[in-house]
Amino acid sequence: MTPATYREALNQALREEMRRDDRVFLIGEDVAHYQGAFKVSKGFLEEFGPRRVVDTPITELGFTGLAVGAAMAGLRPVVEVMTFNFAILALDQIVNNAAKIRYMSGGQLTVPMVIRGPGSAAHQLAAQHSQSLEAWFCHVPGLKVVAPSTPYDAKGLLTSAIRDDNPVIFIEAQLLYPTKGLVGEGDYQIPLGVADIKRPGADVTLIAYSKMVVVALEAAERLAQEGIQVEVVDPRTLRPLDVETLVASVKKTGRAVIVEEGWPFAGLGAQIAESVYQQAFASLERPILRVTGGDVPMPYARNLEDAAVPNADRVVAAVHQVLR
């Protein structure tokens, strides 16, 4: 294991896959000369050249659709969306083409591609640059959706996503890029669809993904000082969801809180809760609680933004409530 930031972990995974397989290429806005808006593709143009590191005009529909076509013809594109806010412009290509072509063709075609970039809020980027849209993508059969929370997971999951034969939506978090951790040397895979217990505990299950894992772990640390042992479970892959691991944890603790940054109504936590209820209802001492983002477009003002994003205080309060 070696130290790396989340950003470096992504860089390593992508670099190793591009070295391993000539069919893998990176395409997106400012990925080559600028080395990525968040510097994930640092050094790529130099190593792989413009054939495989492709700067695009600001046309998400066009280059995402083009990548779908390239995947249909046997390449393995990695599309960088500068942020997932801009993926909305490519939604028709993602939903109607990437996700459905395998099914519509009766299995004649596959679309092995990754669409990756940062989602969720950073700091004061306001309404159009701060949103968590994972529920939209998770809704669509034919897509896989991944949202790593640590450098180790980011590297292993991106490697698996690139080797997967399906379109994979890979949602990073802007505020996680500089976070540090340990990653494995060389290439390794973390299978898609397998959750990870980030902290074991017996009293309450905290289900969180992406940046909210950091918030959940902070809350768990504070609760431990009160003698409350929280188990933090990170699904890592949001679709397919590892319901089995979530259910096993909830059966053990009898209590669950879901932490998600997205909007509450029809949010991903509602689906996770439903999946857990189906199999662990009898084990639950209390209804599942959700800590979510505010049901508002993201405001600019710092104090309002803070109020719209889940934090450790709110998670601690929810855990107290579910223990009542």
Binding site: P57, G62, G65, L66, N97, Y103, S105, G106, L109
Partner: protein, 320 residues
């Protein structure tokens, strides 16, 4: 062009015509469901263009895709079975009329979001270039797709990156019920839109299969030689309604207009030419007619005898 090839073009157009006439009957009988957009009147475009391609070239189409698929050589029985929603269909009955796909023939599919398949064709061309191949991606679309963002973004990318795509705009003058002059700013010469992106463009009489064949031959040769995209506008006309759900005339165009267009029926144009040039006699046309009738009859029989998809098929082919 050799006489035999001209007859072949005629036969292919006739196959599409008779096949689709049977589609209309089968639709009325409830054997074909959903939206069903017939290509009758436009056959010369698909046949004249596809005939030019090599087997390893790629073809993309819109939701009005039966003609392109048949022109590419797909088995009429498996096409009809797909329209019937049967397990033996090209896509195991999961695609239907608007999503015929036959990868073996590099018929990459019919797509039903207007303009949405243009980037796919550019992507296949991108892959070809990436690998150093010389295949061409032929992309059919209606003039209704021209104002879409997908079209403009794709034209820009194809021109910018020198992608070997033949953009073949089938201008049948109506996007459903809206005439081109009320939808496309440069309606008098839509190729100006492509030229604005630096793509060479021209126009061809889409009712004349020999003219289409000649224009596409030149375009494809140029694309292979220069690795640059090309835009061809084929002026054509759909004789029936937008889909099986609407009549051929009434709301948005007159019977006189439709009748006038039928005077330039692509089958009649080629037949008249062959007869006038003394290259054919009635017996030959009768024989082609009989051949095609037998093929279509067999296709319907095959589809009718085929099983519906099994219950297990529902959840197959979603993900690997």
């Amino acid at each position: 062009m050799e006489r035999a090839q001209q007859f072949h073009l005629y036969r292919q157009m006739l196959l599409i015509r008779r096949f689709e006439e049977r589609c209309a009957e089968m639709y009325a009988l409830g054997k074909i469901g959903g939206f069903c957009h017939l290509y009758i009147g436009e056959e010369a475009v698909a046949v004249g263009a596809v005939e030019v391609l090599r087997p390893d070239d790629y073809v993309f189409s819109s939701y009005r895709d039966h003609g392109h698929c048949l022109a590419r050589g797909s088995d009429p029985g498996r096409v009809m079975a797909e329209l019937f929603g049967r397990a033996t269909g090209l896509c195991k009955g999961k695609g239907g009329s608007m999503h015929l796909i036959d990868v073996e023939r590099r018929f990459m599919g019919g797509y039903a979001i207007v303009g949405g398949h243009l980037p796919l064709a550019a992507g296949v061309a991108f892959a070809t270039k990436y690998r150093g191949g010389d295949q061409v991606a032929l992309c059919f679309f209606g003039e209704g797709a021209l104002p879409s963002g997908a079209c403009h973004e794709t034209l820009n990318l194809a021109a910018l990156w020198n992608l070997p795509v033949l953009f073949l705009c089938e201008n049948n003058r109506y996007g459903m019920g809206t005439p081109v002059e009320r939808a496309v700013a440069l309606y008098q010469d839509v190729s100006q839109g492509a030229k604005a992106y630096g793509i060479e463009a021209s126009r061809v009489d889409g009712m004349d299969v020999l003219a289409v064949h000649e224009a596409v031959s030149a375009a494809v040769a140029q694309i292979r030689a220069t690795q640059r995209p090309y835009f061809l506008e084929a002026m054509t006309y759909r004789f029936l309604g937008h889909s099986m759900a609407d009549p051929s005339h009434g709301h948005y165009r007159t019977k006189t207009e439709v009748d006038e267009a039928k005077q330039r029926d692509p089958l009649r144009l080629l037949k008249t030419r062959l007869v006038n040039e003394g290259r054919a006699n009635d017996n030959e046309f009768t024989r082609i007619e009989q051949d095609v009738a037998a093929v279509v009859q067999e296709a319907v029989a095959f589809a009718d005898a085929s099983p519906f998809p099994s219950a297990q098929a529902l959840e197959e082919d979603v993900c690997s």
